[in-house]
Symmetry: C3
Subunit: 150 residues, 3 copies
């Protein structure tokens, strides 16, 4: 469900271990705790851009590396409450900290929430959030046929 597109300059996230570590911490945001979504819902694309591809206020990003994260949330729409939004963005920043802030990079992210019913995984409408079928997908960590409650 969440799709994370991470736009990062050459020279950052060059080794696979650093990408895997960040993607694991991103996965934990959704898989652990209350949401308890299946792990395989969490897709992270590292989109490496050559030097002089990113401009910040009209200036090429040639100094401190700048990481721009664009996040789509699909499976769960947050209740429209300041505290809930704040709690989500806090959790995201906590996950990013060791991988971005602590390395001295600059960063920015934003989340877009999109329509759950216009989402399919392996040809399936994913089971309702919190349902037994979702738990099954979570336990198996894959999409399998499930019967829609009538």
């Amino acid at each position: 469900m969440p799709l994370w597109n991470i736009y990062h300059p050459e020279g950052t996230f060059e080794d696979n271990a650093s990408k895997e570590a960040l993607s694991k911490d991103i996965t934990a945001i959704y898989h652990e705790g209350k949401a308890a979504l299946p792990k395989f819902y969490v897709i992270v694309n590292f989109i490496k851009l050559p030097q002089n591809s990113t401009y910040i206020g009209g200036i090429p990003n040639t100094g401190t590396p700048f990481i721009r994260l664009k996040i789509d949330h699909i499976a769960v729409t947050l209740p429209n409450q300041d505290e809930v939004y704040n709690s989500m963005t806090d959790r995201i920043d906590e996950a990013l900290k060791p991988h971005i802030a602590d390395k001295g990079y600059d960063w920015e992210f934003h989340v877009d929430e999109t329509e759950r019913r216009l989402w399919r995984v392996q040809g399936f409408n994913p089971p309702p959030h919190g349902s037994e079928s979702e738990k099954l997908w979570r336990d198996l960590n894959k999409a399998v046929p499930w019967e829609e409650a009538k």
Copy 2:
């Protein structure tokens, strides 16, 4: 109107014929049948990612190739009805089948619907959906000046 960004790993959609074939079937979703949108509204970007760029639940996508499609719908907002959403996602999966499912790839897509009035083609506000001017754009398969009804 629809913008399809297809994130796919190296080793998939390497030949131009496979990309052209998929993009033609995607175009048919919007051009044929009821919507009858101009063909040139349908933009498909194949964004090829190197190995170890995509992580699924924290695991690098090194096994079965995984294709992630992010679709923006702009020209037409679907009525908020389960059947309509389901019909659209069915048509998308039908179009993808020979190019993705039948090749044994894994895949996931989601659609975001955005504001039509914040969309321009070649400097024009596109004509209203279903209008005579839209039919003209469809027949010519290009954007031409048209007069907005007062």
Copy 3:
């Protein structure tokens, strides 16, 4: 706040000067005039795609170069009024003109507006639009700690 992803084919925006010039004109849309947002809010990614990566209505973009711009607005949601939307898209097309239309390229853009409260810069919730703290960020052209009004 605005994130501009510019998908462009090889052979366009190859020199850094052309990218810097366009990104400066994009920045002016948001920084000058009424909105007066901080410059560093404006992120422009040039995403260069190889030949035969973009398909328009099922046809590869091998003729006139086609530039596809996807714009996310986060800091400010426009009032839902035709004139306001039209004024924004006019300003965008004016900014693009010398860099795209006047070079004989084809182009299309659309804007998506996303939730401001799901946006963070350098770990901060950005200050409210029009606030004194926003003016400070604008003057310093960087994110600094600010106190949220209680």
